[in-house]
């Protein structure tokens, strides 16, 4: 409860983690607000079906609040005039200010429990944060947005926040690195997917570093780091200890 998890990938696609968390929290009966900026609803829906979760049903029952970034963006730019009382969550695209206040309000409203809700804790899932920078939001605005979300979701509502970002050591995108580094310092748990140090391999798709940031909550504790390797399959991802891939044994 009340945890901030950062999903980070370096030169690979960590979206399998997003799919995992989405189906995990839905199956656990939590109310999920999913800010999906990069892919369409049907993409997530099809993958979720393979993982055993029906997104459309969850949306209808009110368990899942889905913000499809691509569609919202088109509505803002090509749609008719919006109603004055309901600003679109991605309003910063058309305005000149790079503030993400409208997006935060959207998150807050969707996760605040109403009387007839019987779901367990709220969860905010974001895929992926680096896109906001590409759309013109300033890095400070993005960090502010995440900060407000943490206060609201983790502290006030005792829920969890899971965010995906891309980064790399020799990246030239300084704004992105700034955001990622700052988020790393504030996370309770970091799942870092990256390539093997030895290069491309067909049977082991990469390695994942799980960093439990115990030092965040308690001053004297050290962070715990575990490293596993993984292989992605059609319906599943298998994790195994380093060097023990099925192809080798």
């Amino acid at each position: 409860q009340g945890k901030f998890t950062l999903l980070r990938d370096t030169r690979t696609d960590g979206s399998f983690l997003v799919h995992h968390f989405l189906s995990f929290y839905l199956r656990a009966g939590c109310k999920v607000c999913f800010v999906a900026l990069l892919q369409s609803f049907s993409h997530y829906s099809i993958v979720a079906q393979k993982l055993g979760v029906n997104l459309a049903a969850a949306k209808e029952q009110g368990q899942l609040v889905f913000l499809e970034g691509l569609k919202s963006c088109l509505d803002i730019l090509f749609g008719e005039e919006e109603q004055p009382g309901q600003p679109s969550p991605l309003q910063f695209l058309s305005g000149s200010s790079g503030e993400l206040r409208a997006l935060f309000d959207f998150v807050r409203v969707s996760l605040t429990p109403c009387a007839q809700d019987s779901w367990k804790g709220p969860v905010l899932l974001v895929d992926d944060l680096s896109v906001l920078l590409s759309l013109g939001a300033a890095p400070v605005a993005v960090l502010d947005f995440i900060h407000y979300c943490r206060v609201c979701v983790c502290c006030q509502l005792q829920g969890n926040v899971v965010v995906l970002v891309h980064s790399s050591e020799d990246s030239e995108d300084e704004e992105n690195e700034l955001v990622v580094n700052s988020l790393c310092h504030h996370s309770d748990l970091i799942l870092w997917a990256e390539g093997l140090a030895t290069g491309f391999c067909k049977d082991v798709h990469g390695q994942i570093k799980i960093i439990k940031r115990l030092s965040l909550r308690q001053a004297a504790e050290q962070d715990q780091v575990q490293i596993y390797q993984y292989k992605i399959q059609d319906r599943n991802v298998t994790f195994f200890a380093r060097g023990l891939s099925a192809a080798v044994l």
């Binding site: 099809i46 993958v47 013109g136 491309f200």
Partner: protein, 342 residues
């Protein structure tokens, strides 16, 4: 959304662009061509002619027959372990139903061009920005292009908005040299462009339009001119497939014996991972292309056999160094440091 990084002089990426459009015509798809450099009418006049099945198969058949008759009964004596491996095919010899082949030396017949509906967008001919649109915060050239695409998609019903239209078709969009100075964007001129977000915003909106409709798009970009690498990283993130073409013209690789049969390299930086957890990663990542008199082919890069009598150390090291520079993988499967690729 297929994002192509142009080679230095734009020769080969132009060819790839034309192939995409030609395939659209042959398949009966509608076309939308946008450019700031050449008038789309001219682009369409220069598409390669499709090869009819029979003639191509015959040509390939001849080549294959010659090869087969030579080593028909040859069993390997020294490298016998390799006998059991499947024969590596450098280029497709069996005719597959997917896609068509084109003859680069001939132009597409005009009646074939006329058989599909096509729309064009030539930046310098477009009317001025419609005043009733809200502030877009984007380069006006890009904004106009997006408006045009959106208008075609909704008018022609590619987004399924017209339920009465029985036959649904696919729209192939080709955008040439995006990001170049001709579009009014200075991202290729300076490291700190005036509006660094124009290109990425454009791609995001385009991605939204593509996802919402039955369309596919290829964009060519002169990425070697873009000095701000952060933008390239963001753009890669926003595209489904990223392919880079590197031609050997004018570079030191032209004389490198490793590459003597080829005209350039194909770098696949990213492949689409849609509707699934996994993506289709091919076995080999080293691809090279060559432009023969009639065909443009992309094949696996294989080292020529080292048959020289006087093998000097220097040249061998050179070859090894160039081999290491070959593309070390695409973004969809994790890339690490490049020591061993197996």
């Amino acid at each position: 959304l297929v994002f192509t990084e142009e080679d230095k002089y734009g020769l080969y990426s132009n060819l790839l662009f034309k192939y995409f459009l030609a395939e659209g015509i042959v398949c009966g798809h509608d076309l939308f061509v946008a450019s700031a450099k050449e008038h789309p009418d001219n682009i369409l006049k220069e598409l390669p002619a499709p090869l009819l099945d029979d003639t191509y198969r015959k040509e390939l058949g001849d080549e294959a027959a010659v090869v087969n008759s030579e080593d028909f009964q040859d069993s390997m004596k020294i490298a016998w372990r390799y006998q059991n491996l499947p024969k590596m095919e450098a280029s497709p010899t069996t005719y597959t139903k997917f896609g068509h082949y084109y003859d680069v030396s001939k132009k597409m017949p005009p009646e074939l061009c006329q058989s599909v509906k096509w729309h064009s967008f030539y930046l310098h001919e477009e009317l001025s920005f419609e005043p009733k649109m809200k502030a877009w915060n984007m380069n006006s050239g890009y904004a106009r292009l997006l408006q045009s695409i959106q208008r075609i998609i909704s008018q022609e019903g590619f987004d399924g908005s017209d339920p009465q239209k029985k036959q649904r078709n696919v729209l192939r969009i080709g955008i040439q040299s995006l990001g170049s100075v001709l579009w009014g964007d200075d991202v290729c001129c300076s490291e700190t462009p005036e509006d660094p977000h124009s290109l990425t915003k454009f791609l995001y909106v385009l991605r939204g339009l593509l996802r919402k409709s039955l369309s596919a798009c290829i964009i060519t970009v002169p990425s070697h001119l873009i000095q701000n690498k952060a933008i390239m990283e963001r753009v890669t993130n926003l595209s489904d497939m990223v392919v880079g073409l590197e031609s050997f013209i004018g570079s030191e690789r032209e004389t490198n014996p490793l590459y003597k049969d080829y005209h350039g390299l194909v770098h696949v930086h990213q492949i689409p991972r849609l509707n699934s957890l996994i993506c289709d990663v091919s076995d080999t990542k080293d691809l090279a292309f060559r432009l023969k008199r009639k065909l443009f082919t992309i094949e696996r890069l294989h080292l020529p056999p080292d048959l020289s009598d006087t093998v000097s150390r220097a040249s061998k090291q050179d070859l090894a160094a160039s081999a290491k520079l070959l593309s070390s993988g695409c973004g969809a499967v994790a890339m690490g440091k490049r020591h061993l690729d197996f």
